[in-house]
Structure formats: C-alpha cells, structure tokens
C-alpha cells in the first residue's frame, strides 16, 4: 500500500506544467542534450551534482542539466575554465538557462574531470531549496 502511494506521488510530481521550449524538468531532457556519462567516461551519478546532461556543442561551458535519482531537475551548471576566466579576450555570452526559477547559486573550483579536463569553476544555479541539495548528495 505504501508503495502505491509513493508511486502516485512520483507520477504527480512528474505531471507539473511543462516548461517552454526544451522539456528539461524531468530526465531525459528533450533537444540536443546527451547524458554526460555516455559522452565521456564518468560515473553516471556524481555525488553533489547528480546525473548530468549537456549539449556537446556547448562544451565546456554548458549548461549542464543536473537531475536527482528520481530524474527531477535540481540545478543548471556552467563549467568555466579558470584560464578562460583570466583571459581578457575570452567571454562567455548568452549561455542558455532553460531550468526556470533559481533558488540560490553556488560557485566553486573544480580540479577537472573527463569532458572538462582543465581546472574550472562550477557555477551552480539551484532550482531547489538548500535543504533539497541532499537529493544529489552521496548515498
């Protein structure tokens, strides 16, 4: 009985009004987005970020769309190489932001990973409250 209730709750969450253009609220997003773990050799679920999708044409900046274990969008992430950020001739303009309302933003250094090999900054636009960051925490 409990399982039935949980299932119903999931279906209800999934039927929230769709966003315009690419449908990104639930994984997998529509459009040119591809699962990052299928583009490069990375774990499917990254603790602290979740399951990532990106349009390969937008690498390295993104946006990367990050989903929790139930496939719900939790954040939009941009990955900006440190050497580009300190290059006066380099700009990142008009980066797409399809994820809707932003609750808060985190910016932090990342040493690199397959896909974005150089040290870079993660700029994370959280679409969920602080407490819900736990949805993409390590198990």
């Amino acid at each position: 009985m409990r399982i039935a209730v949980a299932t119903f709750a999931l279906i209800a969450a999934g039927s929230l009004p769709a966003l315009a253009a690419d449908q990104v609220g639930k994984a997998p997003p529509t459009g040119a987005y591809k699962k990052v773990s299928e583009l490069v050799k990375l774990p499917d679920f990254l603790p602290g970020l979740g399951q990532l999708y990106v349009d390969p044409k937008t690498l390295p900046a993104g946006p990367f769309l990050a989903y929790d274990r139930e496939g719900r969008l939790v954040s939009t992430v941009y990955m900006l190489p440190v050497e580009d950020l300190s290059n006066k001739d380099k700009r990142f303009d008009d980066l797409a932001a399809p994820g809707g309302d932003v609750d808060h933003v985190d910016v932090y250094f990342n040493a690199g990973h397959p896909g974005v090999e150089k040290p870079h900054a993660h700029i994370v636009l959280w679409h969920v409250p602080k407490a819900d960051e736990a949805r993409v925490a390590a198990k």
């Binding site: 490069v40 050799k41 990342n110 040493a111 690199g112 397959p114 150089k118 040290p119 390590a138």
Partner: protein
C-alpha cells in the same frame, strides 16, 4: 660485511612494503640468508603482491591526488592504481612520448603505460622491472597537479638524468605538476611519501 644490498639507501622492508619473509630476512646477521635474499630479490620479489596507489578526490572535486604520491619498490613488484573517488574518473599515465607525445620521465627501455579512464572502484596493474625513477600523471588532472613518482630499486646515476624534462612535440609539463613531485631523496629515505 653486508652483501645483500649495495645501495646507498636502506631497503624498503622497513617501510612495510615487503611482507614475504623468504626474500626479506628480518635478521640480517645471518649472512647466508642475506646473500640468498640479495640474489633472489630481483627476480622473485613479490611479483604477485601489489602495492596500491589510491586515486582520490574531495567531495566537491576541488582537490584530487594520488596517495601515496611517492613510492619506492623492488624490481618486479606490481603496482595497482585504484580509483577511490566516487565522483570522478582518473588515469595513471607514464610520462613518455608514446602516450600523447609527452616528455620521457621513465627509465630508458622501460615500458610506458596508460590506464585509460578508471571509474570509481576500477583499478589498473603495472609491473615495473627496470630500476630507476618513473613519473606518471592523471590525464584529466595534470593541470591540478595530480602526479606521482615511483622509484624501482636504485634511482640511477643521478636523479637529473632519469627524470629530465626532455622536450617532446607534445604539451610541456605544467609548473603545478613539476612542483608536486616528491624528491628522489625523500622517497628513498621514507619509502612511502603521502600527499600533504
């Protein structure tokens, strides 16, 4: 007179890397045993027993490292790189023109290696037989200073010879990586150098 080891540095047994009493007698006063050990060590030293170098990272991926970062082993001993970082992929790649045309920083004639990307909990083995200094890096994290150094047996004529940053047509080694290598002396003295 000790005949088992002519090197200027103590054997790595004291650091716990060798665990087989047959080839690492704990009582060197027995000269015959020591002599036998000296003969046996190059060919039979624990090829089956690997030493682990862990690939690690912190939770937000801002810091990544090999642990240990410096290691001294006997010829013929196997190294196992193990990715213990749940949020990232790492490689163990020898500095050698064969892989990405990088400068050669392993002994002349030694076989270079490239693990390819290791996912969490995956590992990769290499057995090193030629004596000398072997420098390696993690391909996606070289620019974050993720490198390591293994010394097999004795480091060679002079450290400068065996680890020359000989230019190749590929990318030079970034400054942050060059600074991260533990010194040959430090590795020979301590056997195992942990990242700080």
């Amino acid at each position: 007179m000790r005949t088992s080891y002519s090197g200027m540095y103590p054997r790595p047994t004291k650091h716990g890397l060798l665990r087989n009493d047959d080839v690492a007698p704990t009582r060197p006063a027995d000269r015959r045993g020591a002599l036998l050990a000296g003969l046996a060590a190059p060919r039979f030293t624990l090829a089956h027993e690997s030493v682990v170098i862990r690939m690690q990272g912190n939770s937000d991926g801002s810091h990544v490292w090999f642990d240990p970062i410096g290691l001294r082993i006997e010829p013929g001993q196997a190294i196992r790189w193990l990715n213990l970082d749940p949020g990232n992929s790492h490689t163990a790649t020898a500095y050698h023109p064969k892989y990405f045309e990088r400068p050669q920083r392993i002994p002349e004639g030694a076989e270079p290696w490239d693990s390819g990307y290791l996912l969490p909990d995956e590992s990769f083995f290499v057995t090193l037989r030629l004596e000398g200094v072997y420098d390696f890096y993690c391909a996606p994290h070289e620019h974050a200073g993720m490198v390591g150094r293994i010394i097999v047996g004795q480091p060679g004529r002079s450290p400068g010879d065996s680890v020359s940053a000989r230019p190749a047509s590929g990318e030079p080694i970034p400054e942050i990586a060059l600074r991260a290598f533990p010194s040959v002396d430090d590795i020979m003295r301590r056997g195992v150098v942990r990242p700080t």
